[in-house]
Structure formats: structure tokens, C-alpha cells
């Protein structure tokens, strides 16, 4: 981001000013960085390593001694049916959550008009994003409620027999994901709305003169120009999918019979409810390793952007 020729003069300027004060130029940025690096290190970076270490122990979280058991937590984990159910649900979340960018783009295109009152319409589409997971969970729990919920009332109008989304083990995960998509779509929509304002109007005009219309125009001209928005939308959506916890905890507690559990919830349940901190740490490590694939991908992209 710094233009090279500017940086050269900047560096000499820094050197000059610092020498006058008697501190090494190398120290200046670190003085500014130190407080943030220290707190971030203590609360984020070091705990990651501690969790790896802890996953090799049997510990209830209370007793002063931890028993070293090597990789036993992991061998046990891979034989735990609940682990595989949770992992499978994580995959569902990941895949279905990618509808977020797709639907978000569709709504953004739908709303990208200069009409009076459009600003408030956009805000109304967006604001589910600022609701907490607990509120979204409660809102959808009431919506899905089997005997009097609005969903079954509407289905009843079309003479469709009532369903109970949160107590049917086949419906439960998609139903929670639908609730999770609600704020996620809103987020993607706002990213795309911002992206659409930056699309080059001349290219659109040129393509229109060449006879491109509708979907063809969208696919060949608009979407390529929306790449930065798409990248961010996909990143926040995948991370969001793997991070989701609130909705499962609020809506089903992983039920019925553990069928809607995901790794984040399974980990919480094992460590807090069952006092198996080492086992919980092992689950967290697996989740972290899955996530680090996406984190690495994101960082690589970001570094490339910096170098350009």
C-alpha cells in the first residue's frame, strides 16, 4: 500500500526523528504494537497452543492434577458416534451456508434501483444481521413451533399437514441452518450492494451495445467485477458456518438425541456439561484444523493482494 518511493523518504525521516530522540528506529513500531500484541497473544495466540497441549490430558477442569494420556482422547473421539454426527452436520452447514452469497447477490440485484424509499427497504432487508444469535434462535423457535407456530399455520392454509422442524431428526439441521442463513444472507447482500455501486458503468454500456442482456450480462460482465465482494462474502460465510454455535444451543441443545449437534456445540457440551476438558480440547483441535484450511487460504489471498 505504501508507494515504494514514498517509503524510502519516510524511512529516512523516521530514522532522523528517532535518532534525535535517542531511540532506535526499529523500536518505534514495536512500541505502538506492544499493547495489542501482548493482549492478543495472551487471550488468543497462546490459548491455541495450550488447547493442543491440553488435548493430550484427561482432566475434569477442577482437580489440580491432569493425567497425561497421549492421543487417547483422539482415538476415543474417532470412535465416538456423536463426533461423526457433529462433523457431518458441520459439512451440511458449510455447504448450505454457501446459499448465503448466492441469495445475497440475488437480493442485492433485486434492490439495486434508485427508487424513492429504497434506502429504508435495504435497511429492513439488512437489519436481521444486527440481531444476536439468541434472538434469531428464539424468533425461529416460535416460527417453527409445531402446534401454533406461524409456519404450520401457513402450511395449513395450503392444506399441507403440520411439521415439527425442530424435533424431527431429518428436518432439524436444515431448519436451524435456514435460521442461520437469515442474517448471513443479509450480510452478503450488503457486501454485494456495495460491490454493485463500484461496477464500471462503461463496461455495462459497451456490453449492452454488443447485445448482452440479463443473465448473460450478469455472468460475463457483472460477476467478474464483483470478485472482491464475492471473496469476502465466501470467506465470512464459511467462517460463519464453522463458527455457528448460538442457534444450535438456543433452538435444540443439539437434539433430538444429538442429531443437530455440530463440533462447536459438541465441544461445549463435553467440556462444560460433562467436565471433560481434555476431550473437549481434542474436539476443538479438530475444528481448528478444519478452520485453518480456510484461514490459510484467506491469508494467502490477502498477502498476494498486498504484494500487488
Amino acid at each position: 500500500m505504501n508507494a515504494p518511493q514514498q517509503s524510502v523518504s519516510l524511512q529516512s525521516g523516521v530514522a532522523l526523528a528517532a535518532r534525535r530522540r535517542g531511540i532506535s528506529i526499529h523500536l518505534v513500531p514495536w512500541i505502538f504494537l506492544a499493547p495489542a500484541v501482548i493482549v492478543f497473544g495472551i487471550y488468543v495466540i497462546i490459548p491455541v497452543f495450550q488447547s493442543f497441549w491440553l488435548s493430550l490430558f484427561d482432566w475434569d477442569g477442577l482437580s489440580p492434577t491432569k493425567k497425561f494420556i497421549g492421543v487417547s482422547n483422539y482415538t476415543q473421539l474417532f470412535q465416538d458416534e456423536q463426533f461423526w454426527t457433529s462433523l457431518k452436520n458441520n459439512v451440511y452447514w458449510l455447504v448450505l451456508f454457501l446459499l448465503g452469497p448466492v441469495i445475497g447477490l440475488a437480493i442485492a440485484i433485486f434492490l439495486n434501483q434508485k427508487v424513492r424509499g429504497m434506502r429504508i427497504v435495504k435497511s429492513l432487508f439488512f437489519f436481521p444481521f444486527v440481531l444476536s444469535g439468541v434472538v434469531v434462535g428464539l424468533v425461529f423457535s416460535w416460527f417453527y413451533e409445531p402446534s401454533h407456530g406461524l409456519l404450520n399455520t401457513i402450511l395449513g392454509i395450503f392444506r399441507i399437514p403440520p411439521i415439527s422442524p425442530l424435533s424431527d431428526e431429518h428436518l432439524v439441521t436444515p431448519s436451524i441452518i435456514a435460521a442461520g442463513l437469515w442474517p448471513q444472507i443479509a450480510y452478503c447482500m450488503i457486501l454485494y450492494l456495495t460491490g454493485l455501486t463500484a461496477v464500471d458503468p462503461e463496461q455495462i454500456e459497451a456490453a449492452r451495445i454488443d447485445g448482452a442482456r440479463g443473465l448473460k450480462l450478469l455472468w460475463h460482465v457483472i460477476i467478474p467485477q464483483l470478485r472482491p465482494a464475492t471473496f469476502i462474502a465466501v470467506v465470512v460465510t464459511t467462517i460463519g458456518a464453522l463458527r455457528s454455535f448460538d442457534l444450535v444451543q438456543v433452538m435444540t441443545d443439539g437434539g433430538p438425541f444429538g442429531s443437530s449437534s455440530i463440533l462447536a456445540y459438541f465441544m461445549f457440551q463435553q467440556s462444560i456439561t460433562n467436565f471433560r476438558m481434555g476431550y473437549g480440547a481434542a474436539i476443538a483441535v479438530v475444528l481448528f484444523l478444519i478452520m485453518s484450511v480456510f484461514i490459510a487460504f484467506f491469508l494467502r489471498h490477502m498477502i498476494r493482494n498486498e504484494r500487488r
Binding site: 492478543f40 495466540i45 491440553l54 469476502i232
Partner: protein, 281 residues
């Protein structure tokens, strides 16, 4: 402009578009409208099975009841006590760090930047056991400080990314001329950079205010008594007490959602500019 402006379309198409917007909006907000309607319903309505018809009377006192019969006010206050210092602290630390990352070239710059960004994306569960133990050992478990410190530290990662990108856009020439006039690096930061950052500070503040306000996981892990519980875990606990009193659960949900929603509608521009950072470049 894509898609083609509706103003260019024929009148029937235009009206069809307006109608489509209204219908789409109603469908989109349907679950929320249901909660709003339920929150003002009377018990009698439920007893006679009037769940979705027009309410016989609008019972706004459900909201008062939530405040009178539950510690909801306390929960809200707790959230404020936790959120404000965490927001201020994270922004302060991240502004300093963002300045260093944006304006100095030094060994480890990129590494530090990647640490903040990468750390910001880790799953909470990998931090949970060590962070909770640390709170217990330091005697902070079940106090405001447990949550304040964690949120402050964690949000510093995101804020540093944000601040660094913003400060990078400020011209180096400003700092140069200040140096020529003999200002030291700290004076430059304080009197040149900081005053230019007001828009970024506002955008970031509203954004992480909502992030922290809406936190549920850490509230669940770090605190348990009513005296410190924030509104998210408070609401979820109340739901267990209210069982199926959906008019109270609905009113409670709306109360809990109101502050961030109001904040968003008031400071929309800042909020969205913070959120869409990087969506165009």
C-alpha cells in the same frame, strides 16, 4: 447501472416491481413480524386459540411485565457495563497497532498483521478451556472483567486489520512534513493521524459494539450469576423459566434486540462502511 433502472421500464412493469418489493419484504421479515405480533397479545387470545388473527386488545404491558418480573433491566445494564469498556479498549489498542502496521516498514510487519487477521478467525472453542481457566485462576470468573478482558483482546485483532487498512490510505506526506518540523513519532500519531481517524473510529465502534453486545458463547462460559449475566444469556435463561409464555419470550427478545437495532438505524452509514470494508477494492 445493473440491472437496468426501473424508471426506463413500462408503467405496468414498474408497478409490478414495487409490489414485488413489498411482498418480498413481508416474506423476509415474516418470522420477526410474528414475534412482534405475539409480544402484544393477551393470554385470553391464546386461550381461545386466537394465535394469528387480529389481537382483541394490544397489550403493551407485556413489555412492562418483562421488566417487572425478571432481572431484564439488570441484564441490559450488565451488557452495557461489559460492552463499553471492551469497545473503547479494543479500539485504542488497535489504533496504535494499526498505525505501526500501516506506516512503518520493519521485519515482522506482515507476520504481526497475519497474526491479528488469522487469530480473528479461529473458532472460539479452541480458546475456551485455557481462557476460562485463566479467568478462574485470576479470580475473574463470574465477574464483568472476565468478559471485558476477553472481548477487548479478541476484538483487537479485527480492529487492527480495520485500522491498518484505513491508516494506509492517509498520505505519508502529512507525516513527513511534521517530521521536518521536528515532531517525534508519538506527536505525529497524536496530532496528525488521530484527528483524521474520526470516521474510522465511529464506524468501528458501532460495528464491534454490536459484535460484543450480541455475544452469547463467552457469556455462557465465563459468567453465571444474575448480577453479571449479560442480556443474551439472561434472555436464554428466562426462556427456560417462561416455558411456553410466548408473549413474554417475544417481548423479551424484542427488548434484547432493540439497542443494537436502534444503533444500526441511527448510525447506518458508519455501520455499513465498516462492514463492507474491502468489498470493492
Amino acid at each position: 447501472m445493473f440491472p437496468a433502472p426501473v424508471q426506463e421500464a413500462s408503467a405496468p412493469k414498474r408497478y409490478a416491481y414495487y409490489a414485488a418489493i413489498v411482498i418480498a419484504l413481508i416474506c423476509w421479515l415474516l418470522p420477526l413480524l410474528a414475534v412482534m405480533l405475539t409480544s402484544i397479545r393477551t393470554l385470553e387470545d391464546f386461550n381461545v386459540g386466537n394465535y394469528w388473527g387480529l389481537p382483541r386488545e394490544w397489550k403493551f404491558s407485556n413489555y412492562a411485565e418483562v421488566f417487572q418480573q425478571t432481572p431484564m433491566f439488570r441484564y441490559m445494564l450488565n451488557t452495557v457495563i461489559i460492552t463499553l469498556p471492551a469497545v473503547a479498549g479494543a479500539i485504542a489498542l488497535a489504533t496504535l497497532a494499526g498505525f505501526a502496521l500501516a506506516k512503518y516498514r520493519f521485519r515482522g510487519n506482515l507476520l504481526m498483521f497475519c497474526m491479528f487477521v488469522g487469530g480473528n478467525f479461529v473458532p472460539f472453542q479452541i480458546l475456551m478451556v485455557p481462557v476460562r481457566n485463566m479467568a478462574v485462576r485470576m479470580g475473574l470468573y463470574d465477574t464483568y472483567w472476565a468478559l471485558i478482558f476477553f472481548h477487548l483482546a479478541f476484538q483487537t485483532g479485527f480492529c487492527a486489520l480495520f485500522m491498518r487498512n484505513f491508516i494506509s490510505t492517509l498520505p505519508d506526506a502529512l507525516m513527513e512534513s511534521a517530521r521536518v518540523e521536528g515532531a517525534n513519532e508519538f506527536q505525529i500519531f497524536w496530532s496528525i493521524i488521530l484527528p483524521l481517524m474520526r470516521p474510522a473510529l465511529a464506524a468501528l465502534a458501532v460495528l464491534i459494539f454490536t459484535f460484543i453486545w450480541n455475544d452469547y458463547f463467552w457469556a455462557l462460559v465465563m459468567v453465571q450469576s444474575d448480577a453479571v449475566k449479560p442480556v443474551t444469556t439472561g434472555l436464554s435463561a428466562l426462556r427456560g423459566e417462561w416455558v411456553a409464555s410466548w408473549q413474554l419470550i417475544s417481548a423479551g427478545s424484542i427488548i434484547a434486540a432493540l439497542p443494537p437495532v436502534a444503533m444500526f438505524f441511527i448510525l447506518q452509514r458508519q455501520f455499513i462502511s465498516g462492514l463492507t470494508l474491502g468489498a470493492v477494492k
